[in-house]
């Protein structure tokens, strides 16, 4: 039992002290037995207070410390480190959460918040009394990473990781890499095309030794944990022989021969494609693929080219990696039928379709046989929804729409752009584009959330109507040849990955980081990181920043050959254990083994496999199992202190 405990109650500026009477908490804590020192501090986490705590530990010979401050998720490691620097075992440090779970949660009732804080601190002191010095477990880590999704973010992270010396397995679900960016033409702000950027990165990947790229590949299963994940990757066959030299002529003939015809998702259904195909113009790897969901296996293409193999089978390969980086990206929001006339009025398309259209139409902008002059952009479709679920701003769309509008005018003659906005958000340097489009004569109109623009068709003409904030709420109307829905971002459908990896998903349905400022690319699952637009709407530059950031974190996590883990382990009391097999059958990690010790058959924990979940604790009929850090005496003494 620890009997020289130091207690620190943090004001957290005013976050705690505005609602909790920290002086009172300090006084009462100071009277608890085994407490030799009780103090309040303005910011417990500041360097000067950290030094003060270290001095206190040394001078007062403290054997445990308790800091009542914010959630341990923020500063547990900060103070464990303080303990360590003072020569105290870090596990003799206990953090009590009196901010998120007290002062803030009960800011409506300061006296009760103070009462609760006192009890929480008393429970923390109890836990400190029973705390044991522990040593973290060190496990070997494989300096290899699985990057899921070969869009710009994933490819960029892969290259940087490889350069830093980490082996990379890069998997892409589609047959071609590049993700969304491969579908775009000129990009803000450099005016490179998506294809140029993708080809640059793809060529680099091909030349880099320690990157292995799999297309048509998805995670099939995962076992193990940080440092040592065993991943099974399922690879769909491409149905083209591996070293195919299918020349353009033969490929064209094969495409002509293919009898199936279906909507091409690469062009957002604006065109048709065949079952044998390449993405155009962004086809990396430059080998065609056969879409087996649509192929009728008629064999006509095989007759033209012997490189085609309709009998190729799905493959499963195993990789072992130390970490997983998810860069699964986003999709454009798909409007509901009749949302702003979508799929109801035939000249209503999405911004993404318009971008493909520009790529496909040289010289004149023609849609459905009609030459386009007036283009109406409707902003915030699927973003900042009043009734729908997507409350968030999709961040990239204002700039993307304006950039596309500028391109329209540069490429085609006689275009008039009308922007029906909810307030233009061209933040930062993107403002320059907004200025440019205004100067070139684009008309901007605006409405608020409560009165969105309306699209309607009258006598074969399409109109967009708005109550325009910028002209004293006048009702304005534009006859539009093309209505472009500026749709926002939603995360990709990743159900299989979500089921396997269990990465937390936030309220916007994007993956959630631990903390946007402290740990922006890490998830609560050790060794699984996120980057790019699977985390939140981001433009390309921002996605790349986050993916490079994640690359740095991955490398520093796994490149040292070992990772330190929490010493939270199950322990089995040899005397109490009556070997019944119950614990072994519930353990998800096969960490409990049958052993014979001095003629008695008992269960024993394999420390390398135990993850400290504690699932075995309640099933033991003789209560022989204790979890380090959560022993009966610790939990029960806390319960007693809370009720007091």
């Amino acid at each position: 039992m620890k009997n020289r405990i130091g207690v620190y109650i943090c004001h957290c500026g005013s976050n705690i002290s505005d609602y909790v009477d920290v002086e009172k908490v300090k006084e009462i804590a100071g009277k608890e037995d085994s407490v030799v020192l009780s103090k309040t501090t303005m910011f417990a986490c500041s360097d000067s207070v950290q030094k003060e705590i270290i001095d206190d530990i040394k001078e007062q010979k403290l054997d445990a410390i308790v800091v009542a401050s914010c959630s341990p998720k923020l500063h547990l490691f900060t103070f464990r480190n303080v303990a360590q620097r003072a020569g105290l075992n870090p596990y003799n440090y206990i953090q009590v959460n009196v901010r998120e779970q007290c002062s803030w949660a009960h800011s409506d009732n300061p006296p009760k918040a103070t009462e609760k804080a006192i009890k929480l601190v008393k429970a923390g002191i109890e836990k400190a009394k029973h705390s044991q010095p522990l040593t973290p477990i060190s496990i070997p880590s494989n300096n290899a990473v699985l990057v899921v999704g070969a869009g710009i973010a994933g490819m960029r992270a892969a290259i940087e990781l490889a350069e830093m010396g980490t082996e990379v397995f890069l998997i892409e679900r589609e047959y071609f890499v590049g993700g969304r960016a491969s579908q775009w033409n000129e990009l803000f702000s450099t005016n490179e095309t998506g294809r140029e950027v993708v080809s640059r990165l793809y060529n680099k990947i091909i030349k880099t030794n320690n990157i292995t790229l799999f297309t048509g590949a998805d995670i099939d299963s995962k076992s193990g944990g940080v440092g040592n994940f065993d991943i099974k990757i399922k690879i769909k066959p491409r149905h083209i022989k591996p070293n195919c030299k299918l020349d353009l002529e033969n490929f064209k003939k094969a495409v002509e021969a293919c009898p199936v015809d279906f909507d091409d998702p690469f062009n957002f259904n604006l065109t048709k494609q065949k079952a044998i195909y390449k993405n155009y113009p962004s086809e990396f790897p430059e080998i065609p693929a056969i879409d087996f969901d649509h192929c009728t296996k008629c064999g006509k293409c095989v007759k033209i080219c012997s490189e085609i193999d309709l009998d190729q089978k799905e493959e499963i390969i195993n990789v072992n990696v130390g970490a997983i980086l998810l860069t699964t990206g986003s999709s454009p929001y798909e409007p509901e039928i009749s949302e702003f006339g979508y799929k109801e009025i035939d000249n209503v398309i999405t911004l993404q379709q318009l971008k493909r259209l520009i790529e496909l139409r040289e010289g004149e902008l023609i849609y459905q046989g009609k030459k386009i002059k007036n283009v109406a952009f409707i902003y915030c479709v699927g973003s900042r929804q009043v009734l729908g679920e997507n409350k968030y701003c999709s961040r990239y769309c204002c700039t993307s729409a304006i950039h596309t509008a500028i391109m329209l005018k540069e490429k085609y003659k006689g275009i008039n752009n009308f922007h029906f906005t909810r307030g233009v958000r061209t933040y930062g340097k993107q403002e320059i584009l907004y200025n440019k489009s205004s100067k070139q004569g684009d008309i901007f109109l605006q409405s608020f959330a409560d009165s969105p623009a309306e699209v309607y068709n009258e006598k074969g003409q399409t109109f967009v109507k708005i109550k325009d904030v910028l002209t004293t709420d006048k009702q304005l109307e534009v006859k539009a040849d093309l209505v472009v829905l500026v749709t926002g971002m939603v995360p990709r459908e990743n159900n299989s990955i979500n089921n396997i990896l269990k990465v937390p998903i936030g309220r916007d349905k994007f993956y959630n980081e631990i903390h946007p400022k402290l740990r922006p690319v890490e998830t609560v699952i050790d060794g699984v990181l996120i980057a790019g637009s699977c985390q939140a709407p981001l433009n390309i530059t921002e996605s790349v920043k986050s993916s490079l950031s994640a690359a740095a974190k991955v490398n520093s996590l796994i490149s040292k050959g070992e990772i330190e883990l929490e010493p939270t382990l199950a322990q089995i009391d040899k005397l109490l254990c009556e070997w019944c097999d119950k614990c072994t059958s519930v353990c998800p990690y096969s960490a409990i083994e049958k052993k014979e010790v001095n003629g008695k058959v008992i269960a024993e924990v394999n420390e390398a496999n135990c993850k400290g979940c504690g699932i075995c604790l309640p099933v033991c009929p003789t209560n022989a199992i204790q979890l380090i850090g959560y022993t009966d005496v610790e939990i029960e003494s806390m319960i007693d202190a809370l009720i007091d």
Binding site: S71, K73, Q101, K112, E115, K502, G506, C613, G614, I643
Partner: protein, 130 residues
Amino acid sequence: MDNKKSAPKILVFSTEKISDPAIDLAGLLKKHYPPTVYTINVPCSSAIKTKWILRAFDKGFDGVFIAADGTDCSFSETCTLRTGELVKQTHLIMKEKGIDPAKLKMAAICSVCSDPFVKHMKNFISALSN
């Protein structure tokens, strides 16, 4: 002890990676719930021992709430099943001891389920008050 007048006291078992972050989030967003709710952290909800729950009732807690990992659990797919099992076992023992089984509740609280958590707490408190 004047238990009738004071608000019912609830002990919440939360889990470090899933439900405790949701409870933190409730505080962060200043979503208020009764201040007689106290939380103890465990790694996984399937690790809670019946004897801890009984201890809480014995010492004077009016309700115990298990903020379970549910399907989000990063340890095991059987988490919900195991947690449900231990709740069922404990309910049986509570009946034997003459404790109303309604005083022990469990619900899955995901890492961003701050609203459901607050709602559960308010409902539980009002159910216990009656």
